[in-house]
């Protein structure tokens, strides 16, 4: 059922991806021919304002929200300038012809609803900038609020030995490490590509000394990789996949077509992976250690019931918290 719904979208996405790659090739071949003829022609500069002409309508037609912001992100990426140095009205900014080609290619991709973060290849999360890639789940603004909450809770703790389950781009662990020097973090991640990317991010931010990442898929009775079997942690954080399978039909194309579904699918009630994390926490949290989870809208009361019914004497429900949109989404649990 779900496949039929997304098929047409997938097809358009494929076309977009193909043109994305083709133009990359044609762009470089154009450069080669230009070099061969060796005529030092100065490429004419185009005002950014003129280059924008008509794209706003096209984006609107494609159903993209927050268009001004999207345009500004792409313009600053094409010009290779920091986002906060680009003026909102693009006054006096110019593209050369290569940049113009890039710019139009990126906007074409955006019209096909490719996520903005994939197009520009990086994203800011709290105080750090992370590389992003299509295989990796893109961190959301709510997750910033979640991490802020955890950081506030651990600001005064002397030393924290932390584990993250399913770290994706590394946004949560690396932000914690960046904000709190007393944290040591270990992460597990099922995707090989993501494991590689998060390590790159850690090195780029100079945090590799206090960070380890293992490529491992969490399963029943095989929660942590062999070398971590006997480890106990003070804190476990996770943003597990929590989208219910039935909800997939309502997701945005950016999410359902382009994002790694492994990072989203939480089974019929959205807690399939979270349940595995509960079991992992029972085994690898020290007594009194905490488990913090970011979940979906209806989950915290459900988690409370599960704790009371199935985990008595093992895990306690401490509290739940709202995200910045006043949705009850975050929970804190404690190992007994």
């Amino acid at each position: 059922m779900f496949k039929y719904l997304t098929q047409p979208l997938r097809r358009t996405a494929q076309i977009a991806k193909r043109s994305f790659c083709n133009s990359k090739l044609s762009g470089s071949s154009a450069k080669i021919t230009a070099a061969k003829t060796a005529t030092p022609t100065v490429s004419p500069l185009i005002e950014v304002r003129d280059a924008l002409n008509g794209w706003e309508d096209k984006l609107k037609e494609a159903g993209v929200n927050d268009i001004d912001f999207n345009l500004k992100c792409i313009v600053s990426h094409v010009l290779q300038r920091k986002f906060n140095t680009v003026p909102d009205d693009f006054a006096q900014l110019k593209f050369n012809s290569e940049q113009l080609v890039d710019f139009e290619r990126f906007l074409e991709a955006r019209c096909a609803r490719m996520p903005l973060q994939h197009i520009i290849g990086e994203w800011d999360f709290m105080d750090i900038t992370l590389k992003t890639a299509p295989t990796v789940f893109i961190p959301r603004p709510e997750t910033e609020e979640f991490v802020r909450l955890v950081i506030e809770n651990y600001r005064k703790v002397e030393h924290v030995n932390m584990l993250e389950v399913g770290c994706g781009s590394g946004a949560m662990s690396l932000s914690m490490l960046h904000a709190l020097p007393q944290v040591d973090a270990t992460a597990i991640e099922r995707s090989k590509a993501a494991t590689k990317l998060v390590w790159e991010n850690a090195k780029m931010l100079g945090l590799q000394e206090r960070f380890k990442v293992h490529n491992h898929t969490m399963e029943t009775d095989n929660y942590l990789p062999e070398e971590l079997k006997d480890k106990q942690y003070d804190l476990i954080i996770s943003n597990p996949p929590y989208v219910k399978t039935e909800e997939f039909q309502f997701l945005h194309p950016e999410v359902v077509v382009y994002e790694n579904l492994n990072a989203l699918d939480g089974g019929s009630d959205g807690l399939r992976v979270a349940r595995l994390v509960f079991e992992l926490a029972c085994r690898h949290l020290r007594p009194g250690g905490k488990l913090w989870l970011e979940l979906g809208n209806e989950h915290p009361p459900l988690v409370k019931t599960i704790m009371n019914l199935q985990y008595q004497g093992r895990l306690n429900f401490v509290n739940s918290y709202e995200d910045q949109y006043k949705r009850e989404r975050f929970v804190q649990l404690e190992k007994v």
Binding site: L93, Q117, G296, N297
Partner: protein
């Protein structure tokens, strides 16, 4: 004989001049003022126990009274003219005279030191922090470029002086200019230096943006708002309404909207601040709250009567838009401060813009002049306590 007459005449003239210059040590009023400070000091030493305000006054009086006492001790060493005349032995008298001239020299130095301490005492305003603003003025892009240069100069000056500062707000332009910036400088010393920088700064040069090589004149202004210790703004989270563009509906993993722009409304005051200069929503929210805090502090400062006066005083240069305090002329490689009567022009402009010793030296001169003026004003209105009591009767 003639020489002796001449010396007597000279001494008389010096004394006459001294009594008219209010800051000369021999001025009678200054003498009584010093004596009253000395008495205040010893009275405080007895009574100050436990009162932090009195202690603060005591510690400020300490160097003045200290050097006054030294001066008096030295004065006692000088042999009086009467004794000198009574001395019959020629050699002995020559020795005494020589000794006297040495002491006179020392006394003069001590007087200078005392005056310096006394001048420092005339800074009557103490603020633990201040808000420092740079605004581009007339002259478009060129004025914004100049504002950026001033910004760089002052931030390196803060570092030169070892003052801590934090940035609340800063809006830049794409060609490297600055529209405005808002900083807080956290140092009790800072106000007594930076107050002289408030006003309109003018630049004359051929701008980078000018194609036909004409010289332009543009301006940027500096505002210095002292922040008293009792101004504190605590923003409670429940007083804030944080708005973003995201429409209602599912959030989290269900959608991928970037949704970074933030608008923060402070409900009690109705003030609203927006931020969309960063890609991260949380960063934008932090920035917006910081700006809101700066605004609230400013509002509170403007509402308190005392600081209103201080602010106006500090920004006299701003009252009259034509009143520029300093000109930076790149063509002639000079800086001219229009408030300094003599020698207000300095060369080596690029060195000046580094915000180091040169800028510091100029501010020091302005500061000294200001202190002198306050002391003169003070002495003019000051009455000895006894006389005051008599007036009341």
């Amino acid at each position: 004989m003639l020489r002796k007459l001449l010396r007597v005449r000279c001494e008389y003239l010096v004394r006459r001049w001294a009594s008219t210059d209010p800051l000369s040590f021999h001025n009678e009023k200054l003498q009584t003022y010093l004596e009253s400070l000395r008495q205040e000091y010893y009275a405080l030493r007895v009574n100050a126990a436990g009162n932090s305000n009195l202690y603060a006054r005591l510690s400020r009086l300490d160097p003045v009274v200290n050097s006054l006492e030294k001066h008096r001790a030295m004065q006692r060493n000088i042999t009086s003219e009467k004794d000198l005349a009574a001395e019959k032995d020629e050699d002995m008298r020559a020795l005494m005279e020589e000794e006297n001239s040495v002491y006179a020299d020392l006394l003069r130095k001590q007087e200078e030191a005392m005056l310096h301490e006394l001048l420092a005492l005339s800074d009557d305003e103490d603020y633990p922090a201040l808000i420092f603003e740079v605004n581009a003025g007339a002259g478009g892009q060129e004025a914004m470029l100049f504002a950026q240069e001033l910004y760089d100069m002052y931030t390196s000056y803060f570092e030169h002086m070892g003052w801590e500062y934090e940035e609340f707000d800063r809006e830049t332009t794409d060609i490297g200019g600055l529209r405005h910036a808002n900083l807080q400088v956290n140092d009790p010393e800072a106000y007594n230096w930076l107050r002289f920088e408030a006003g309109v700064h003018r630049v004359q040069r051929v701008p980078a943006t000018e194609k036909s090589g004409r010289i332009h004149t543009s301006t940027a202004s500096i505002t210095v708002i002292p922040r008293p210790a009792d101004v504190q703004v605590q923003i409670a989270e429940r007083d804030l309404k944080i708005e973003t563009k995201r429409a209602s509906g599912a959030g989290g993993q269900h959608v991928n909207t970037t949704d970074s722009a933030v608008r923060v409304v402070h409900i009690p005051s109705g003030l609203a601040v927006e931020s969309q200069s960063e890609r991260s929503q949380l960063k934008n929210r932090e920035l917006a709250i910081k700006r809101l805090q700066a605004k609230l502090i400013q509002q509170q400062l403007e509402s308190t009567e005392a600081s209103k006066k201080a602010t106006r005083k500090a920004q006299q240069g701003n009252l009259n838009r034509n009143e520029k305090i300093r000109t930076y002329n790149f063509v002639q490689d000079r800086v001219t401060d229009h408030r300094v009567q003599q020698g207000g022009t300095l060369h080596n402009l690029s060195g000046f813009l580094e915000g180091g010793q040169q800028l510091s030296g100029l501010i020091e001169r302005l500061q000294l002049e200001h202190r002198r003026q306050t002391l003169v004003d003070l002495l003019q209105t000051w009455k000895p306590p006894a006389q005051e009591a008599a007036d009341k009767n």
